[in-house]
C-alpha cells in the first residue's frame, strides 16, 4: 500500500478508534455493581453495619488488618450466609446475561435466550428426578447440570438430522426437545405430588446457599464459559453481517457458532444447576445494554456481565426481604422488576426494535 503523505496520514488516523466499551459505561456500571453488592451484604434479617462490612472486606487484602470490623457473630453471618449468596448471585446473573447475549449473537436473533436450546427443560427434568427420588440434596445440581447438557445434545442431534447447519432448524429442534422434556417433567411431577412444592420452587429459581460449596462448584465452569464467550466479542460483530459474508472475511461461521454455543450452554447449565430456572435475565439484560450503550458485541458482552450480576444481586435482595422472614423465588422478582423496566427502556429507546 502506498504511504504517501506519511505524517499527515498518521495524525489523521490517530483519531480513529475501533469500537470498544466506553469507559464511562464500564466505571459507571462497576460503581452500581459495587453499591448493589454492599447493599446485598448489609441488608437482611440481621442487618450488618456498612462500615463493618467494608472493613472486613478491606481486611481480606494481604497485610491489612484494620480495627472496627464485625463481631464474631456478625462476621459469621457475613462470610457464611450473605457473601456466598451474593457471590452466587453475581456469578449466575453475569453468566445468564452473557450466555443470552452470546446466543443472540451467533443466532442473529434478538429473541434467543440462554434456555433456547433445551438447557432449561433438560435441567428441569434432571432436577425433578433428583427431588422426587428423595436422594442426597447434593446430587440436585449434578442432576440438573447433566439434564441440561443432555437437553442441548438432543437438540443438536435433532437439528442436525433435519436441517444440517441451518440455525432455524436448530432453534425449532430446541422447541421440540423442550416441549417433550417439559411434558415428561410435568408427568413425573404429577405422579409425585408430595414433591410438587419443591419442584415448583426450583423451577421458579432461587439462590439458596449453604456456605461456599455452590460457588466453588460452578465457578470453574462459569469462568471458562465467560472467558470463551468474551474472547469471541469481535468475531460476533463479524457474524453480524451473516455467515456467508463472514466466511469471505475469513471467519468460519459454523465453527464460531459451535464454540460459543458450547461455552454458553456449559455456563448456563452450571448456573441453572445451583439457581433453578431464573428467567428474564438472559434476554432482558443484553437488550437493555444494547439499547443504552450500543449494539457492538464488544460493548454488549462485557457490559452484560456487569449489569447481569447487578440485576440478580438486587433481585435476590428484594426476594429475601420483601416478605421477610419468608422468601420469594428470585425468578418471580426478576420478571416482576424486569418486565416493567424493560418496557420502560423499550419505550424510551430512539428506534423500535
Amino acid at each position: 500500500m502506498s504511504r504517501a503523505g506519511g505524517t499527515e496520514q498518521d495524525t489523521a488516523t490517530a483519531t480513529l478508534r475501533a469500537v470498544r466499551l466506553p469507559r464511562r459505561w464500564l466505571f459507571g456500571s462497576l460503581a452500581v455493581l459495587l453499591a448493589a453488592v454492599l447493599l446485598g451484604l448489609t441488608v437482611g434479617p440481621a442487618g450488618l453495619p456498612l462500615r463493618g462490612v467494608v472493613t472486613e472486606i478491606v481486611n481480606l487484602l494481604p497485610g491489612v488488618d484494620l480495627a472496627g470490623g464485625l463481631d464474631d457473630r456478625q462476621a459469621a453471618v457475613l462470610w457464611q450466609l450473605r457473601a456466598p449468596r451474593v457471590v452466587l448471585g453475581l456469578l449466575v446473573g453475569a453468566m445468564l446475561a452473557l450466555a443470552g447475549a452470546g446466543y443472540q449473537g451467533v443466532f442473529r436473533n434478538p429473541l434467543a435466550d440462554p434456555y433456547l436450546l433445551g438447557v432449561a427443560a433438560g435441567a428441569g427434568l434432571g432436577a425433578t428426578f433428583a427431588i422426587v427420588s428423595g436422594g442426597n440434596r447434593l446430587l440436585l445440581p449434578l442432576a440438573a447440570f447433566t439434564g441440561g447438557l443432555l437437553g442441548v445434545a438432543a437438540t443438536y442431534a435433532l437439528g442436525r438430522s433435519v436441517g444440517g447447519r441451518s440455525t432455524n432448524s436448530l432453534i425449532l429442534a430446541g422447541v421440540a426437545v423442550a416441549a417433550f422434556l417439559a411434558a415428561v417433567q410435568t408427568f413425573v411431577t404429577q405422579r409425585n405430588s408430595e414433591s410438587l412444592r419443591e419442584v415448583y420452587g426450583w423451577i421458579l429459581g432461587r439462590l439458596l446457599t449453604a456456605g461456599w460449596g455452590e460457588v466453588l462448584t460452578v465457578l470453574p465452569y462459569i469462568a471458562v464459559s465467560a472467558i470463551v464467550i468474551l474472547g469471541h466479542r469481535r468475531l460476533l460483530d463479524v457474524l453480524s453481517v451473516g455467515p456467508d459474508e463472514a466466511g469471505t472475511l475469513g471467519v468460519p461461521a459454523s465453527r464460531v457458532r459451535l464454540v460459543v454455543v458450547l461455552a454458553a450452554t456449559l455456563g448456563t447449565a452450571a448456573a441453572v444447576s445451583v439457581s433453578g430456572l431464573i428467567g428474564f435475565v438472559g434476554i432482558v439484560v443484553p437488550h437493555i445494554v444494547r439499547m443504552l450503550a450500543g449494539s457492538s458485541y464488544r460493548i454488549v458482552l462485557p457490559l452484560a456481565v456487569v449489569v447481569g450480576a447487578t440485576f440478580l444481586v438486587v433481585a435476590d435482595l428484594v426476594a429475601r426481604t420483601v416478605v421477610s422472614p419468608g422468601e420469594l423465588p428470585v425468578g418471580v422478582v426478576t420478571a416482576f422488576v424486569g418486565a416493567p423496566f424493560f418496557t420502560l427502556v423499550l419505550r424510551s429507546a430512539r428506534r423500535p426494535w
Partner: protein, 270 residues
C-alpha cells in the same frame, strides 16, 4: 499480482448443476466480467471462487487451490463485494471497514494500529472519512456501496470479486464505483472478476468478457467478440442493436421487438 485459474469447475446446488465444466484464466492485473441471463450461474461461480460453495474441478490462485486454503488465508487472497450486503445494526462505517481486517486480526484478538491505518487510508480513498462515525444503516445506497468496497479493499487481497456491484446504484454512482475499481486495479495491480447485468458497462470495464448460459461458457473474448447481436438474441432472447462507439467501446441498445401500435414498420429505428 495474482493469476486466477478456473479449470473444469462445476457446482451442484440442491442436486442441480448450476455451474458446469467452466474453464477460464484471469491473468494477473486484468478485469474479467461474467455476463449472462438470470440464473446462468454467474454469482455461483463467483461464490465458488471465493470458497463459499463447494466445487469440483480446480480453482487456483497462482497455482494454490482455493479448496486447500484455510478461511483466513483465503480471505487474504480474495475479497468479495457481495450482491446484497447486509447492513449490521449499530455499526459505524469505520468498524464496518475494519471488518475487512479480520483475516489479519488474531483469533480472539483486536485490531492493531496498522489495521486502523489501512482503514483510515481507505476512508480517504473512498471519500468516507467524514462519515466514519455514522452508522452504516444511515448511509445512502451509494455511500454504503463505497463502504462495502472499502471493506473488501481492507482485506488487501490481490483478487477482487464483484457480484453486481452496481445493482443498487444510479447511473452516476455506478460509473464512479466502477471507475474507482479500475483505478485501483491499475494502482494496486488487482485482479478483478465481476458479474454484471448491464452489457454496455460490462464491455466498457472488462478486458475480457465471459458469456455464461445455464452454467456453461458459451462465448468469451473481447467485448466486440462476445457482445454481438446474434449471441445476445440467442441467449438472452433479447433484440438489441450493438453500436460501436467512436471511442472504441461497444454499446448495446435494447430494441422493442414490436412497435406499440402493432403492424407498424420498425424502419424508424433501423
Amino acid at each position: 499480482m495474482t493469476t486466477l485459474t478456473v479449470d473444469g469447475v462445476g457446482v451442484t446446488l440442491l442436486e442441480r448443476p448450476v455451474v458446469d465444466d467452466v474453464s477460464l484464466s484471469v491473468p494477473a492485473g486484468t478485469w474479467v466480467t461474467l455476463v449472462g441471463p438470470n440464473g446462468a450461474g454467474k454469482s455461483t461461480l463467483l461464490r465458488a471462487v471465493s470458497g463459499a460453495v463447494d466445487h469440483v474441478g480446480v480453482i487456483a490462485f497462482d497455482g494454490v487451490e482455493v479448496a486447500r486454503l484455510r478461511s483466513r488465508e483465503r480471505a487474504r487472497l480474495v475479497a468479495v463485494v457481495p450482491q446484497d450486503p447486509a447492513r449490521p445494526d449499530g455499526m459505524t462505517v469505520l468498524d464496518y471497514v475494519l471488518l475487512g481486517r479480520t483475516p489479519y486480526v488474531p483469533y480472539l484478538g483486536t485490531e492493531s494500529a496498522e489495521d486502523l491505518a489501512v482503514a483510515g487510508e481507505l476512508l480517504d480513498t473512498l471519500e468516507l472519512r467524514s462519515l466514519s462515525d455514522r452508522m452504516v444503516t444511515e448511509l445512502s445506497g451509494g455511500e454504503f456501496q463505497r463502504a462495502v468496497l472499502a471493506r473488501a479493499l481492507a482485506q488487501q487481497a490481490p483478487v477482487l470479486l464483484l457480484d453486481e456491484p452496481t445493482s443498487s446504484l444510479d447511473l452516476g454512482h455506478a460509473q464512479q464505483v466502477l471507475e474507482l475499481v479500475d483505478e485501483l486495479r491499475g494502482s494496486r495491480g488487482l485482479t478483478v472478476v465481476s458479474a454484471l447485468h448491464d452489457l454496455t458497462t460490462a464491455g466498457q470495464f472488462a478486458d475480457h468478457l465471459v458469456l455464461l448460459v445455464d452454467g456453461r461458457v458459451v462465448a468469451q473474448g473481447s467485448a466486440q467478440e462476445v457482445l454481438t447481436e446474434e449471441l445476445i438474441r440467442k441467449h438472452y432472447g433479447a433484440r438489441v442493436r450493438v453500436v460501436t462507439d467512436p471511442e472504441g467501446g461497444v454499446v448495446v441498445v435494447p430494441l422493442r421487438s414490436r412497435p406499440a401500435g402493432g403492424g407498424r414498420d420498425v424502419g424508424g429505428v433501423a
